[in-house]
């Protein structure tokens, strides 16, 4: 979604802000005096002792805090150790220098999809990106630039609004539906190994939105389903357990105005997907399936 704020949105925003005031949100207090004493000293010591350090240049923005209303970049120096990821570095900076540094994260192992960030000009998962790999030569790079995902509304610092992405995902009826289940107690539906293999990659999506953020088409067309949602549709359309009638229905969904035909095979989605899902391939296959099924009826 583009971050161009329309007037209407701005208005909505204001009313929301008012509403917040009415319900007595907590916060927007003065900034408390917080003593990082111990942690900061520790960090200084560690930075001094470290053989190598990394500079993080991090995008900062907060709609209601003076000094952050205008976005800026803050720089944090972090001691580097082998195996350190971008997320590790961010957490270090937050815990030792500025606890208001805000970003989403949870699993630290590339399964929760919460920390897709724009690192050195590319969409990546913070936890899955080794600092050492950001440099062509061996060893950590001097400065790492970290920004929120492009083409998304920034909520604060590195946190972006994911609602639009969720809406697109949910628009493709992302749930299994069939009318026929095998009779008999404890009977599973049968699925061939080949078929499971076919949908395997498509089922790996962790909803991180990196693909959506990287796609120029999605940036320009707010209603475009986007690669992740189309991939989700693929996951079900190709699952033989759902049956032919369902597949037709799914093809109708992805053929809608802002569906597969919007994709211009730019491949950036495939390039950034942290789960290595061949998104463009899946989109293209759906286009062909759609054409095939249309010709069948013709």
């Amino acid at each position: 979604m583009s971050t161009q704020v329309t007037e209407q949105e701005q208005e909505e925003q204001e009313t929301v802000e008012e509403a917040v005031e009415q319900t007595e949100a907590v916060g927007a207090a003065r900034a408390a005096q917080v003593d990082y004493g111990f942690m900061e000293e520790k960090a200084e010591q560690e930075v001094r002792d470290a053989e190598t350090t990394v500079k993080l240049k991090v995008f900062r923005y907060d709609p209601e805090v003076a000094g952050k209303k205008e976005p800026r970049f803050d720089t944090f120096t972090v001691p580097f150790h082998k195996g350190m990821t971008v997320l590790d570095a961010l957490m270090y900076a937050r815990d030792h220098y500025d606890s208001s540094l805000t970003f989403r994260h949870s699993c630290r192992q590339a399964v929760c999809g919460s920390d897709a960030l724009f690192v050195n000009g590319r969409q990546r998962l913070g936890c899955k990106t080794q600092l050492a790999d950001l440099d062509d030569s061996e060893g950590p790079p001097g400065t790492v630039t970290i920004e929120p995902l492009p083409h998304s509304d920034v909520v604060k610092d590195l946190v972006v609004d994911m609602q639009h992405f969720y809406d697109q995902m949910e628009a493709v009826e992302p749930y299994f539906q069939t009318d026929e289940y095998p009779k008999g107690e404890l009977e599973e539906q049968r699925q061939t190994r080949e078929n499971r293999e076919k949908i395997k990659m498509s089922t790996r999506c962790i909803w991180c939105s990196a693909c959506m953020s990287s796609c120029n088409i999605a940036a320009g067309d707010n209603e475009y389903l986007g690669p992740a949602a189309i991939n989700k549709a693929y996951r079900f359309a190709m699952d033989e357990r759902e049956g032919e009638a369902q597949k037709q229905r799914r093809l109708e969904i992805i053929e809608q105005e802002h569906g597969v035909w919007r994709c211009q095979t730019q491949f950036s989605c495939t390039e950034v997907c942290p789960k290595d899902i061949p998104l463009t391939e899946h989109i293209q296959e759906l286009k062909r399936e759609a054409v095939k099924s249309n010709l069948k009826f013709w």
Partner: protein, 121 residues
Amino acid sequence: MADYYSSFEPKGTRWLLQRLTAAFLVVVLAFHFMLLHFVNHAADITFMGTNLRMQQAGYFLTMVLFLVTATFHGVNGVYNALVNQGISGAPKTVVKYGLALGGVVLVAQGIRVALAMAGIL
């Protein structure tokens, strides 16, 4: 979500036709280029030469087909691009008929020219 469904979905059709015409164009365009820029240099083109070539029925047909396909491919391509860019409502309708008209005019004029070249007109 798709609220109606016809057995032949126009969006997919335009996409498909764009590919089919492209495949056809590869052949004729290559032929056209070779013939008119390499075999006969553009600078040496005269009405005589054109006339001679155009009198062969096969060549004439190929050229007309080339024209029709290229026009369709080009006009359809522009329309697709605009639709993808998010054009909708009234402008979309205007563009649609505008481009269709432009295409028809182009083909009509092209055929008139071709007939003249073949000396039929």
